[in-house]
């Protein structure tokens, strides 16, 4: 055992050093994750009780005070109709968040049925369902979303379904491969051997063990779903003005970029902040998940 190891087979760096490195990183990481979590908490409060954070009326107009710059009275300024941008951004949180969350939920739900069916229905069903997923994945996501909106019509509900259709096929693939692994595992064999009816095996053992690991992945999808939903609203297909949805606010604000940058700045800033916070928390959860499954 004295041969010179080749570089790729070199033993890992001194463990103590790696541990020390991890310790050094830890505070910064946890601070960032904590900040992201705090921000998400604020976002949730703004979703459930917007009046706690912004007491004003988001649709109260004041033509005399239109296009006022951010200041002590209007933190984020006012828009072309004199509406307070801060009030609107806070009250708009629920639309952007709800579209993203509902779309992720609906998309995941569909994907679980889709993927499980592919994994459990035999070779022919599997082939048909997975080729359908491939066909949908070959199309640009936004194009697919636009086609769904043609069917459902414009609006919040249509947008939610459009985003969900974008989420589902990719997830269905993951669900399928996870279900295939679970189906061949020892405890499923044991349950079948003990004479547990097949539908009960699916519900009790296969579904929970397939879906559980996906919940973390869903967090990461949530950020993208919020972003896509806002994009559709920006394009005029989702929430319609005067709804204070962030994407729709950006469309309104874009007409005043030369005089009042704040109308379009703050909704976008909140959108980026939310997506970023969801991603940071999601990645943290994913990392913890992986560490747990390793140990």
């Amino acid at each position: 055992m004295t041969s010179v190891p080749s570089p790729s087979l070199a033993p890992p760096a001194v463990p103590e050093a790696a541990v020390a490195k991890a310790r050094r990183q830890l505070p910064v990481r946890s601070v960032v994750v904590a900040l992201a979590g705090l921000f998400l908490l604020l976002v949730l409060v703004a979703t459930a009780f917007p009046s706690l954070l912004a007491s004003g009326d988001p649709s109260a107009t004041d033509p005399a005070g239109a296009l006022a710059a951010p200041g002590a009275h209007h933190w984020f300024g006012t828009d072309q109709l004199g509406r307070d941008v801060f009030d609107r951004v806070v009250h708009g949180t629920r639309y952007s968040l709800a579209i993203g969350a509902a779309a992720t939920g609906v998309g995941m739900g569909a994907a679980v049925v889709w993927g499980l069916a592919a994994a459990l229905l035999g070779r022919f069903g599997d082939a048909v369902l997975m080729r359908a997923a491939d066909a949908l994945l070959a199309l640009p996501g936004l194009l697919l979303a636009l086609m769904v909106i043609l069917i459902t019509g414009k609006g919040v509900v249509g947008t939610t379904f459009a985003v969900a259709v974008g989420v589902a096929p990719g997830f269905a693939r993951v669900v399928r491969s996870q279900a295939l692994v679970v189906r061949r595992s020892g405890y499923v064999d044991a349950a079948v051997g003990l004479g547990v009816p097949r539908p009960l095996v699916v519900v009790r053992h296969i579904v929970p063990n397939t879906v559980g690991p996906l919940l973390v992945l869903a967090t990461l999808t949530l950020g993208a779903a919020i972003s896509t939903g806002a994009a559709l609203s920006y394009l005029g297909l989702g929430a319609q003005p005067p709804t204070p949805e962030w994407g729709a606010m950006l469309t309104e604000g874009q007409g005043y970029l030369d005089q009042a940058w704040w109308i379009a700045l703050f909704p976008g800033l909140l959108l980026v902040g939310t997506v970023l916070a969801v991603t940071v928390v999601g990645r943290y959860a994913q990392g913890r998940d992986e560490r747990r499954s390793v140990s």
């Binding site: 080749s6 570089p7 790729s8 080729r131 359908a132 491939d134 066909a135 949908l136 070959a138 199309l139 640009p140 996501g141 936004l142 194009l143 636009l146 086609m147 769904v148 909106i149 043609l150 069917i151 019509g153 950020g223 972003s227 806002a230 994009a231 920006y234 394009l235 005029g236 297909l237 994407g247 950006l250 604000g253 874009q254 970029l257 030369d258 940058w261 379009a264 700045l265 976008g268 959108l271 980026v272 997506v275 970023l276 991603t279 940071v280």
Partner: protein
């Protein structure tokens, strides 16, 4: 019987799978668009026009809408095979001409955006795989922020700062080449932010490989080891992102053309959705499926050029 040469077999398989993808996309589009509610005749003549039953029947006949669905479907596939896409409901011209007119601006935008994205990703990768750790940290955080920024807001931000505040670039398309800069950046930055981490991981992995040691032992300068040997190796995993890349470019074009008021396929698509101009939507689906297939073929070819190990499997000789 002698087996056909590997290259021929490879090309035949590729062609078959390409046709399959285009067929599947066209079929999905046909089925999905059957679910669109409302009378197509209204989309054709406008919702305010009064048409009697005779005219209605005539219009339906003209667009083949009076045929059974299966006939419409086969008819459409036949047209697609001949490179035809039918007539637009709204624009009184063949969909093919509509798309051909708008392809130029979008292709220019997409091409420049891809080049810019790849250039940014490569430069960032080369700059952040050195010994020092902080450039990598800075890059990772920046990438995360850029990826989390929706393209439409990035575009608005760039417009506010560089067009309205600094006045460096025109606000909308003026034919001036400078009017291309901000749209290209808006489209390229998020792509670069996804590409760079993949390239970096590949490059760091490649630097641990025996062939890097060999190259260094031959006395090559570090920058040559990186750009000629390691980067090549790192390009392979990045190439697998090409499908996603193409889709993002097309979806991004819809958004970017709207933010910057540029003409192009994205604009036409959005308008067709608003007007329920189904043949145009169907045409865009067919077009993007063809683009997807062509890009996939080019990527496979690029992989063979980049990685000599693949040449034996495919029988494609080195160029």
């Amino acid at each position: 019987m002698r087996r056909p040469p590997a290259l021929l077999r490879y090309a035949a398989t590729r062609l078959a799978s390409a046709v399959l993808v285009v067929w599947a996309a066209a079929t999905v589009a046909f089925l999905v668009l059957q679910l669109v509610p409302g009378d197509p005749v209204k989309a054709i003549v406008g919702s305010h026009a009064l048409v009697d039953a005779d005219q209605r029947a005539q219009i339906r006949h003209q667009y083949g809408l009076d045929q059974p669905l299966i006939v419409q479907y086969l008819h459409q596939l036949g047209r697609l095979a001949r490179g035809q896409l039918g007539d637009s409901y709204q624009l009184q011209q063949p969909v093919k001409d509509v798309l051909a007119d708008q392809l130029g601006p979008t292709a220019t935008l997409a091409l420049w955006a891809s080049l810019t994205a790849v250039a940014i990703a490569v430069v960032v990768t080369l700059l952040t795989t050195g010994r020092a750790r902080w450039p990598r940290r800075v890059a990772q955080v920046t990438e995360l922020v850029v990826v989390s920024t929706p393209a439409f807001w990035l575009g608005i931000l760039l417009l506010t700062v560089f067009s309205f505040k600094l006045g460096w670039f025109p606000v909308s398309d003026t034919g001036d080449p400078r009017s291309l800069v901000l749209p290209v950046l808006t489209l390229a930055l998020p792509i670069a932010a996804v590409l760079a981490p993949v390239l970096r991981e590949g490059l760091l992995g490649a630097l641990d490989q025996p062939f890097t040691l060999t190259a260094r032992a031959r006395g090559l300068a570090e920058h040559r080891v990186r750009s000629h040997h390691a980067l090549r190796h790192a390009a392979l995993p990045a190439l697998t992102l090409a499908g996603w890349f193409t889709g993002t470019l097309l979806g991004g074009a819809v958004v970017v053309e709207n933010v910057f008021a540029r003409p192009g396929i994205g604009r036409v698509t959005l308008q067709a959705v608003g007007d329920r101009d189904l043949p145009v939507v169907q045409g865009v689906v067919a077009l993007s499926a063809v683009v997807f297939v062509v890009v996939a073929a080019l990527v496979d070819l690029a992989a063979v050029v980049v990685d000599p190990r693949l040449r034996r499997e495919t029988g494609v000789a080195a160029a």
